[in-house]
Symmetry: C2
């Protein structure tokens, strides 16, 4: 029965659909917020609900170390554990392990040293040291599925190897083949009838690989199509720039089975979301909107860019830490109906940031979550009403 | 017109009244939460509202240093600045300056060294260094009134000298007389017609002194009664124990003009509140309920003490950091209707505390605020219905 996916409408600006889960329906295109340790940092779950949040995505890696999969299973699922009654996703835990091992993409691009000593990859899985107590863990495809079944989210992902950006064609191919073998093992574990935490309502996403290489992307798509996954994740390197991302998406989406929902992992910039949707992506997840909020950033729409002082914004957001907001007694956005813009001024948010009050990050995260949810709703309306050019103009500015 | 105070009922268990302010009425007895830097740490102002919070008390000392009184005056008042439409109080700033200088009472009782070098008291006022940038400030009675008029709370306090606990009779007398002279100067400044931030709706509280000495307490009461203050604050040392506090309250309340509201500064323990109300106190403020929440403590009622494991509680609260809560999938209190108890379990709150997630402190603060507001409502009902013995049994346990 669950989960199920239907497409209502296909357009050159994106497609409209619904993912039906045991915990509610997800209208697509949709953006998922990351609750790394089973909480959206600084925002109560009942507030996330009033902001019309569709889905919360939790992290297998963090939760298997603290509080442990068994504690969450005893509470029911990661949804019941965190008091969230709507749909949930979990990732496989791979991304976090490989980030720890290789460093994140930005570190890599900047050439920061990598701490590879914390990570050993073998055919069996990825061996790493717990960030909590230094104990040794080996995350295998089977363990990732076991933990994700214990966590009991509506949709889960296969474990894949997340390679650094700058590896060669040969390394990308070898890694892709390894990820394919892991995907097969994941599916076998997932389908096992007598698994201790088997959940009848769960769907499994496979993840495509192949980096920036067209023939590898093509092979990976063929592989994914041949396996009975519920959904497809787009993984592996998407290149260095937004332009390269669009090229890679063309490769990764060509021939991909159109009956399955397609998730783009870790992408959260406004323009990239519009571009991804136009290519056919259904869902996204990223820490950007919530992390930005905690660091003083508030997402704003392009009609503010021109009127605002140059120093106000960079990349579609204003930084409330800047001194120019000290006596700015307007809300972040006068047209925004989020709780933060209804009650708080820029001057007040600036004061809270300067005072290092946690209420600041919380209020800015609330604005950014509302912003993203409103934008995704506008996009769905835009596709339904064939007005995506206007919607893009209002949210991207070009 | 505002503020005004009326007493509806006097009983041996406390009195019922109403403080009428320009921003709403305060039913007394009432407990005020401290928004030190113009925010209840970790809780949005709209959440404070849904928890039926009567009053928010902000700190003159912190706000005059950051963002500065002028910024807040430009926004309207400290209430409008923080998006709070209900009644507000500010303290004089004295307590914080003297805490910095002398150390807090608990440090003093423990014999920790005091950092008196940061503080110089003269007839003129208290000279101190800003915690923000090390600049030198002199808080005079006139400056405190000026800043509190700029902040524009409904009720404000005179600057008094907050002496350490262990000073002699002679020192206490000298300090009391100094505070009385400051109170006179405060009142003169407050009544000045052409003050730059004069607010017609503000009321001024005088603060009684005299430490633990009956004759000094008596002199201070006579002094306060002779001056046209709107309300009375009980200041100075209240002794070392709850028993001594009750004795000092007897001295400090005897003969105190019964037409004025009486505020007990910095008291927030459950039993002390019941005892204070029985003596005739109308309002309290204290950081205990909110600070306790941020450190993992949840207030619980006595009916839980007997059923709960011994390790669970100390001083009417449970510490969610304790390992015994790891798999405790019940709410903090099954009979509590606060948002936290409706959604979160002890196991989840334990996990959030262990993960150092700020949502933990926020959720526990919400529970504690709701707890205090519910308790004060029960007390008001208890006085109205002559059932205070039962109410005390339900909330204090004896």
């Amino acid at each position: 029965m669950f989960p199920k996916f239907t497409v209502k409408k296909n357009t050159p600006y994106g497609r409209l659909g619904t993912i039906f889960t045991a915990h509610g329906n997800i209208s697509t295109p949709s953006f998922f917020f990351c609750a790394t340790k089973a909480t959206i940092k600084g925002v109560d779950v009942w507030t996330m609900e009033t902001l019309n949040t569709p889905v919360i995505l939790a992290n297998t890696y963090h939760l298997m170390l603290q509080p442990g999969a068994e504690v969450i299973a005893k509470s029911g699922s990661v949804g019941t554990f965190m008091g969230w009654s709507g749909p949930t996703y979990t990732d496989s835990g791979g991304y976090q392990i490989f980030s720890l091992g290789y460093g994140c993409v930005s570190q890599e691009i900047k050439g920061s040293p990598r701490s590879g000593r914390y990570l050993k990859i073998s055919e069996n899985g990825a061996t790493f040291l717990s960030y909590r107590d230094g104990s040794t863990w080996c995350l295998t495809p089977e363990l990732s599925i076991h933990v994700q079944q214990a966590l009991g989210a509506d949709c889960i992902f296969t474990l894949d190897e997340c390679t650094p950006y700058h590896i060669s064609y040969e390394q990308t191919r070898a890694s892709m083949e390894q990820s394919h073998r892991w995907a097969k093992r994941s599916l076998t574990a997932f389908l096992k009838e007598d698994a201790p935490y088997k959940r009848s309502y769960q769907g499994l996403y496979g993840i495509s690989q192949g980096g920036i290489y067209p023939d590898l992307r093509c092979q990976s798509v063929d592989f994914l199509n041949s396996m009975p996954f519920f959904g497809h994740g787009i993984g592996g390197s998407l290149g260095k720039t937004s332009a390269q991302m669009r090229e890679v998406l063309d490769m990764a989406l060509e021939n991909l089975c159109p009956e399955r929902p397609i998730h783009l992992l870790g992408i959260g910039k406004i323009q990239d979301i519009f571009d991804g949707i136009a290519k056919g992506i259904d869902t996204f997840d990223c820490v950007i909107p919530t992390r930005l909020g905690r660091h003083g950033g508030a997402l704003i729409r392009p009609h503010y860019w021109s009127t605002a002082h140059e120093a106000y914004h960079s990349r579609a957001s204003i930084n409330l830490l800047k001194a120019c907001f000290k006596n700015d007694h307007r809300p972040i956005d006068e047209t925004c109906t989020c709780p933060t813009c209804q009650r708080y001024t820029r001057a007040y948010l600036h004061h809270l940031m300067k005072s290092k009050e946690i209420s600041a990050g919380s209020a800015l995260t609330i604005h950014n979550v509302f912003f993203m949810n409103s934008m995704m709703e506008a996009i769905r309306d835009g596709i339904a009403l064939n007005s995506m050019k206007d919607v893009r103009l209002q949210w991207v500015g070009d």
